[in-house]
Symmetry: C2
Subunit: 568 residues, 2 copies
């Protein structure tokens, strides 16, 4: 099961579709020259293909496990991790001050997609660290920064996120973990956390847990939550790992996929922690980390989908069945080709949307223009939910293309389905993403949405002369989506928005997909035009049914009873 | 993980939606009185809930395995099988002449759905036997019938289908297994078969393999294929299992799901076989078996979806997260309720379509009216593909409703996803079903399709007075589908049909779903109306995008190159 990094796509999208030149043109990101960008794509792609990709199936077959309280990772994972760390890929967007490369998030996003496609279970580890680095950069004291950031950026140590408790999943505000002042500026952290990805490993010198907990007398709900750095080994005066902290991995979960990644129940028994950010201000820091992670999880979906496509395409070109034209391989059958092209067109759309998102983040960083910040915020739930939905759908289609072999684990296609399944759930379920989109992200009266749609319409108008059919289809979709957005903005009862939130997010992704495919057709070769034609004529029209759904509101849905849902 | 048989739905659909009274009113099925039907639903439901359902997770955790060449099944499976066999559920539609009950396929279909929901891996065994019984009834000699049918019907022996070879999957005609006359009326069967479901077990006294093979000098392709009965143990003069035949289980596959069901590579080394049906006429007999199995596999999708719904509904009523109204459980959140209602409405539609299909089979059997035969033939690929697509989608939604717990195997939700995944592949992939629908099943110029749509339109007209909005939506969908069907019928190049075959099949299912939901709203209570409203207003409109896709034809798709599909 080889993997080839999709470098051709990245180059084309950066140069012709998502406007990366604007990022590279800022003072902040002046280092991101075409040469530097090219070198990064090449080097990271090489590592992913040569070192990480062969670990993927090994991780599935040799799950991470607990051995007398010690987490053991699959064979090869320590070497794979070291390749990621020494390549500088963990901290490439971290500030140079602590050893990062200060490069645009757009490039980190690209490298994250490639690493996800190569070995999702391992890539989840540096993804968590990246989120932690960003949270510390924005919210930690200088003392904490100077101890932790250099080691996290180098990969010597790694980081985790500890939010979830048994009674507090999507509802983070229900958490009960306690933090009590020790009187010396530190806190004693006590409680149980679940679903902790990469809670421990056998290849980093320390593991740094960012833990949400409640101070004595804190308000209930999210306003009473604070964030703490709780290292596995407490750094000594020189910043080296010292005595063991009072925390432990209780158990690891037996999961549907991602077997190579240890997912733990963690117990904190008065563990020593340091406050990050202000008291009761934990959610802000957590959102910094989560937003970073949401973009990253979107890339996990896209990367896994890309791997599944490469796998299915190779099979379809090789496997002979029936009276097919041309080569005689099943790729010549119309329905197999429909499946492959659907995968490809969806992955392309999701990838381009994610890079638009990353560019908006970088432009916001470089210019502090609130319009860029708003665009980044609006696109993040779309990148996360659509990217991971494409992950689930494309990997399933990949199995389907393999026929009976797809169901046999040896083939490898089934692993992609199993691994990527969690991506629509963690870092906020895709339902939560959609609710965020229609509620918080429309609190501007739809301004960020309408600005995006203005860009779509402008793109369609520019394409009218050369591609009238495609341009008209995209234009009409954008205007229908604008009307649905206006309808949503006009609903004071949020439940009327929530009832159609998931179809709305998907329709928005479909329309943005039309936009990026049309832009590619304008700038690219006949291959881009063929792919854009398939997407715009056959896939984009899905928005019609979706937007009818969006505008039904909540009343009929709220009237459904539990008994209506029972057939027995 | 309890399971409750969806008896309320079955009763309602039989009485008010799919016209089962017409079946029970025929001489052929006069035994299927309301009392008899009620007893069957109750008894089968009880067995499924009490005996089979507890085996489901056991089968997943204790896979069937080879032990010195002997297949060992999961703990409890032998008892579960005996409950199915002694209940008479295997041969309930088999002719009374050899011990069957001669009941309508509609009732077998219902029991098959219930057994699938209870324990899919085990139910696959009697499903294979049922297909074999029907193939023997239609095609075998009296001598074979008298030896095999009584024991297959009683469940003392079980049956398998041996079609696939490594180079011959969807393209059955490529098979190479040889059958050479032994001179005594028997044949020596030599070759390898793969993906043989329930190729052996440790609870039946014999296993009867129906094997497709090629006689010396036979034509290439499907016209040179004959069918043979090849028992594991050769019956002696009294019809009891005698000497071991020259066949063996080479290995079992390690699959994504259905771990309780052994899937084997079989080797036939000059095994003794008996011809079933005429020389070179194997495909006809195989299609009898496959059509039966296709309806049955559709029920596997629906049954597993129902189980996933019950599981998710219980979780959603129990789990508290966030500020929900009412009970405070997550079912009160609009998006969770949207997911549950989508599952429910889709399962209901698929179930009703499957029962329409079974009623058409029974009416064809009872009346020999070719219009019923044509309707049954038209509906079979829809039942199979839509039923199993709903299986995949609803089980995935079930995982999503569980949030992080859905990804943990202990919860059980993930097993449904893994188990049902193969149902869109075996017995003809869903792509093959769709190609069958737009090619063979439209060879009548669309007559069967148009008759179905006439019924949909009639139903909509009857509902106009009381439910004008719903009726109009269904009417409009039916007419749009009629136009798309006319377009397809007018395409002489089958590739133009194949390119849109999958979206066409789904659109047809969507419209039939509108029809059955509308009929339920007309005949049922306010709960049926609420469900119909949700389906017709929010889910039915999917047909709009699908039918645009259908009418795009093959040219643009055929132009896509392998290079267009590569991002690297």
């Amino acid at each position: 099961m080889p993997y080839r990094a999709p470098i051709r796509d990245f180059r084309f999208l950066l140069d012709h579709v998502v406007g990366f030149a604007e990022v590279a043109g800022t003072d902040r990101f002046a280092d991101a020259t075409p040469d530097m960008t090219g070198a990064i794509l090449t080097e990271a792609g090489k590592m992913c293909a040569d070192i990480l990709a062969p670990l993927n199936q090994i991780g599935d077959k040799n799950p991470a496990h607990l051995d007398n309280g010690i987490v053991r990772t699959p064979p090869g994972f320590p070497d794979g991790y070291r390749a990621i760390a020494t390549g500088g890929w963990i901290g490439m967007s971290a500030a140079t001050e602590h050893g990062g490369m200060g490069l645009p998030m757009t490039l980190t996003t690209i490298v994250n997609e490639m690493m996800s496609g190569a070995c999702l279970a391992l890539q989840l580890n540096p993804l968590m660290t990246q989120g932690q680095i960003e949270a510390l950069e924005h919210h930690a004291s200088d003392a904490i920064k100077s101890v932790y950031l250099p080691k996290l950026i180098s990969g010597e140590w790694c980081g985790t996120m500890n939010l979830t408790e048994p009674q507090a999943g999507s509802d983070v505000g229900a958490l009960r973990t306690k933090a009590e002042p020790n009187g010396d500026g530190t806190y004693a952290i006590t409680g149980q956390k679940i679903y902790i990805s990469w809670a421990d490993n056998d290849f980093t010198a320390n593991v740094c847990h960012l833990v949400l907990a409640r101070l004595p007398g804190a308000n209930p709900g999210t306003k009473g939550i604070s964030l703490f750095m709780v290292p596995k080994l407490i750094p000594d005066a020189d910043g080296n790992p010292g005595r063991k902290n009072d925390l432990r991995v209780v158990s690891l979960e037996h999961k549907m996929g991602l077997h190579g990644s240890p997912t733990a129940v963690m117990e904190y028994a008065g563990a020593t922690g340091w406050l990050v950010g202000p008291e009761h201000g934990g959610m802000a820091a957590m959102f910094t980390m989560m937003n970073n992670a949401r973009l990253g999880v979107g890339m996990q979906g896209i990367g896994t989908a890309e791997r599944a496509l490469q796998h299915a395409l190779a099979y379809a070109q090789d496997r002979k069945q029936g009276r097919a034209d041309g080569t005689g391989a099943i790729i010549e059958h119309a329905d197999v080709r429909r499946m492959l092209t659907t995968m490809r067109a969806d992955i392309y759309a999701a990838r381009a949307i994610a890079l638009m998102n990353a560019v908006a983040i970088d432009m916001a960083t470089a210019t502090h223009d609130p319009a860029w910040t708003a665009r980044a915020a609006f696109l993040t739930p779309i990148t996360k939910a659509f990217g991971t939905d494409v992950g689930v759908e494309a990997t399933n289609t990949g199995v389907q293309i393999h026929g009976g072999m797809g169901f046999i684990e040896e083939t490898g296609a089934a692993q992609f389905v199993r691994d990527v399944r969690v991506s629509t759930i963690y870092e906020g379920t895709n339902g939560i993403q959609a609710m965020d989109l229609v509620a918080r992200k429309l609190m501007d009266g739809g301004d960020a949405a309408f600005r995006l749609l203005d860009d779509v319409v402008r793109g369609a108008e520019a394409a009218k002369a050369t591609h009238p059919d495609l341009a008209h289809a995209v234009w009409e979709a954008a205007e229908t989506l604008r009307e649905a957005t206006e309808w949503l903005v006009g609903r004071p009862d949020l439940n009327d928005r929530f009832a159609g939130a998931v179809p709305y997010l998907r329709a928005f992704a479909r329309v943005l997909g039309g936009h990026v495919h049309l832009a590619s057709a304008m700038a690219g070769d006949t291959g881009h035009l063929r792919l854009a034609t398939f997407y715009i004529k056959r896939m984009l029209p899905e928005y019609l049914g979706l937007l009818i759904h969006v505008r039904e509101g909540a009343a009929d849905l709220a009237a459904i009873t539990a008994d209506d849902l029972a057939a027995a």
